[in-house]
């Protein structure tokens, strides 16, 4: 118990230095938490993928369409419960900077395959009845102050011209990870107009989404689909929604790697700050350690003394950093548009990582001073001049 008391007293001897060190550690933990949260935010798309959805796209790349005629064939494949499809519309809403996903979807099946977009039965009825209607995610509706019943005009690029849509519903996301930024309108409206204006581009789907009865069959179904269309005009590439989203993330992997590396460099910096403090403290106390040794305290006691102090400081710094980091991330989540990071939050994994990192630094930072304190001869220790 005495050792514990000395440990506390020791860490309080240089109040300024200890508080600066705690501040340094907590700042580094804040940075670590923010970086990790941004990296994790990237993965939200993968988590949001439903287990029972399969994406069928053109094998060349997603910018090429698949004929509408494939729909009937896809429906006949064993294990497929529902088939829906969508086209990426692109376009511009008021300013080019106003980015959110705009998709033409099949109104009959879309909401069944994507049950995470919540709208009321009345709103659904309106979406079914009015060919020009659309539904918009809560986050985007709030950002641009769009309300139910408003007319939203898009300037098309992939599909040239001005397009007017009536907002039938502002949908609510079912889960935290559900994308609440999309705008979905009716594919039959797009197709009808294309048939008039550029008939050769009509009757195409951007991609198909299959809802399957049993997620275990996804691999087999994907294989079947791709084999079936292998020698058709548009060969397909079929994969689970999860794998599809993963593919998008892997294309930004260089940046994610950089951020990951940086988040671990931060730990290196905490280690240096704390290590510096511990080395200095131990250095100043060289004579005291010799006194303790003379009184009969063993190396074990000294180790406990120094390690304990180091862990105490890192624990306090880590906790303060975590609390503040959580606030910073929450703040960022409110400031940054949902289209960039749909969900910015501190995950349990990252909390644990940060705490482990802080304690590990506490441990490593004490190794050198312990080694020195234990191995210094008593006589040399007494002669030591700071």
């Amino acid at each position: 118990m005495k050792i514990l008391k000395i440990m506390f007293k020791n860490s309080m001897r240089h109040k300024l230095r200890t508080s600066l060190t705690i501040l340094g550690i907590s700042v580094a933990v804040i940075a670590f938490i923010v970086m990790r949260s941004i990296v994790s935010a990237w993965d939200v798309g993968v988590e949001a993928a439903a287990a029972d959805r399969v994406i069928v796209r053109n094998s060349v790349s997603f910018i090429f369409p698949i004929p509408y005629a494939y729909k009937d064939k896809l429906e006949k494949i064993d294990g497929v419960k529902r088939v829906t499809w969508a086209n990426w519309f692109g376009g511009v809403y008021k300013e080019k900077e106003n980015f959110f996903g705009r998709l033409a979807v099949d109104h009959n099946t879309f909401l069944d395959v994507y049950p995470e977009f919540l709208i009321t039965p009345d709103e659904k009825k309106m979406f079914m009845e009015d060919i020009q209607s659309c539904i918009i995610g809560e986050a985007t509706a709030n950002q641009f102050n769009i309300k139910k019943g408003d007319i939203v005009t898009l300037q098309g690029d992939i599909y040239p011209g001005n397009w007017d849509f009536k907002v039938a519903a502002v949908y609510k996301p079912r889960d935290k990870i559900t994308d609440a930024t999309g705008m979905y309108f009716r594919w039959d409206y797009l197709n009808e107009r294309l048939e008039k204006e550029s008939p050769d581009r009509a009757n195409d789907a951007g991609w198909y989404v299959l809802q399957v009865n049993d997620p275990k069959q996804i691999a087999a179904i994907s294989q079947k689909v791709d084999n079936y269309f292998k020698n058709s005009a548009a060969a397909t590439k079929t994969e689970s929604e999860r794998a599809f989203n993963q593919g998008f993330i892997s294309s930004s992997s260089a940046i994610l790697t950089a951020m990951n590396v940086v988040s671990f460099v931060i730990i290196g910096i905490i280690m240096l700050v704390l290590g510096n403090t511990m080395i200095m403290s131990a250095r100043e106390r060289t004579r005291e350690y010799s006194v303790l040794k003379t009184l009969g305290f063993s190396g074990k006691h000294l180790t406990g003394l120094i390690l304990g102090e180091s862990l105490l400081i890192s624990l306090i710094g880590g906790t303060v950093g975590l609390l503040l980091g959580e606030m910073v991330v929450t703040g960022l989540g409110q400031v940054v548009p949902k289209t960039i990071f749909p969900l910015l939050e501190v995950t349990t994994l990252n909390t644990i990582l940060a705490m482990v990192a802080a304690l590990l630094t506490g441990f490593i930072a004490s190794i050198f001073p312990i080694h020195k304190a234990v191995n210094t001869k008593i006589v040399d220790g007494f002669r030591f001049v700071g």
Binding site: L20, V27, M35, F64, P160, S251, A254, V262
Partner: protein, 388 residues
């Protein structure tokens, strides 16, 4: 003034603490420099794309080349403008370019979106910077491609001699081209007509690249487009300007995240420097008293400690810069959010980056050393001599 030698010798006495502080500052300077180099690398790559007197005609609402469309009629009307420079054979220097994305598997196993650009016979006169570095040029009228040198390393399927399968045909990679690190180095080029017909796109291309007599004629050219109701949905931009805009989103993102992180980092390193300097002052109380007794003024003491701190951070800054500059040999590639295609770029260093990194490091040293130096200067001579 207290001699500089005193400062340097003092640092040498506490080697470990000094080294730790220097490493701390250098890590921060390294990250700071690397982030700036990354953002600048992307900017530079895309700014160097294109030639100063070329312009690009795109659909006004299009956010990238792939979402721009120009139909055949509009192409022929635009090509009649007398502002366009004529080739040796008397044809207008225009390249009607379809741009498509294809998926290839990268070395690490991920999928990349690669841009395939179809070009016309005029492309060599329009883009004299294109050099074939391996293999040969592609022939018109057949399914052949040349690959930018930024790509073929990362995507083994696009290497010389390989056949790439898309749009119902095999495309043979016959050459590797270089544009000295511009954005074109991340593309595959082939005959525009071949690409249009195999993708069933009729004659609807994505963008047009045009050479004007002089860059000043851009405004006049835009007026020409505006006046014609068949053309007023298009706009012309200087080619380099167009590609520079494509880098904005990426370099903004990297800079914001990067600067935010380094600012937090620098906080940590500054605290590290403060701790070091406080202990330097505490350890040398008697020395400071002696110096004061010898007649050195408070100001000399203050500046001696500040110089010590600045010197530390300068060393750290230089070390960090040195580490970061080794990154300029690293080429990485990632998805460009704006064009939605793979872009290969190098970390690149500029004089401004060197200066800002050093200033940043010195700033950390100054802030970190300021309070401790003041404490040193304020010490009372008698108390200091007694080591209190």
């Amino acid at each position: 003034m207290i001699p500089l030698k005193y400062t340097i010798n003092s640092l040498k006495r506490r080697k470990l603490t000094t080294a730790i502080t220097i490493v701390g500052v250098s890590l921060v300077a390294f990250v700071f420099t690397a982030v700036l180099m990354m953002a600048y690398g992307i900017e530079k790559t895309l700014q160097d794309t294109g030639s100063p007197d070329n312009i690009k005609v795109v659909r006004k609402s299009a956010t990238g080349e792939i979402s721009s469309l120009i139909d055949g009629d509009a192409q022929s009307i635009i090509a009649t403008s007398n502002m366009i420079v004529k080739s040796k054979e008397g044809k207008p220097l225009v390249s009607n370019e379809p741009v498509v994305l294809i998926n290839l598997t990268s070395e690490e196993g991920g999928t990349g979106n690669l841009m395939v650009r179809g070009v016309n016979e005029t492309y060599k006169e329009l883009r004299p910077q294109v050099k074939i570095v391996d293999g040969r040029e592609f022939r018109f009228g057949v399914n052949e491609l040349i690959v930018g040198e930024g790509l073929f390393k990362k995507f083994p399927d696009a290497a010389l001699g390989k056949k790439i399968k898309f749009a119902g045909g095999d495309w043979l990679v016959v050459g590797v081209f270089s544009t000295d690190g511009s954005g074109f180095d991340s593309e595959l080029w082939g005959d525009a007509k071949q690409i249009l017909s195999s993708f069933n796109r009729g004659n609807t291309v994505s963008t047009m690249t045009i050479k004007l007599g002089s860059a000043d004629q851009l405004d006049q050219f835009n007026k020409f487009l505006m006046k014609d109701t068949r053309l007023n949905m298009f706009e012309a931009k200087a080619e380099q300007q167009y590609y520079a805009e494509q880098s904005e989103a990426m370099s903004m993102f990297i800079s914001i995240v990067g600067i935010f992180v380094t600012v937090i980092f620098s906080f940590g390193a500054t605290i590290g420097a403060t701790i070091t300097m406080y202990s330097a002052v505490a350890n040398r109380t008697v020395e400071i008293g002696t110096l004061r007794a010898l007649g050195f003024s408070r100001r000399s003491i203050l500046s001696a400690f500040l110089i010590e701190s600045l010197f530390l951070s300068m060393l750290g800054g230089l070390l960090g810069l040195l580490l970061a500059s080794s990154l300029s040999f690293v080429q990485i590639s990632t998805l460009n959010f704006s064009s939605f295609s793979e872009i290969a770029f190098k970390f690149s260093l500029s004089p401004q980056i060197i200066i800002s990194s050093l200033i940043f490091a010195l700033f950390m040293g100054f802030i970190g050393g300021f309070l401790p130096s003041i404490r040193a200067a304020r010490l009372n001579i008698v108390n200091a001599l007694r080591g209190m």
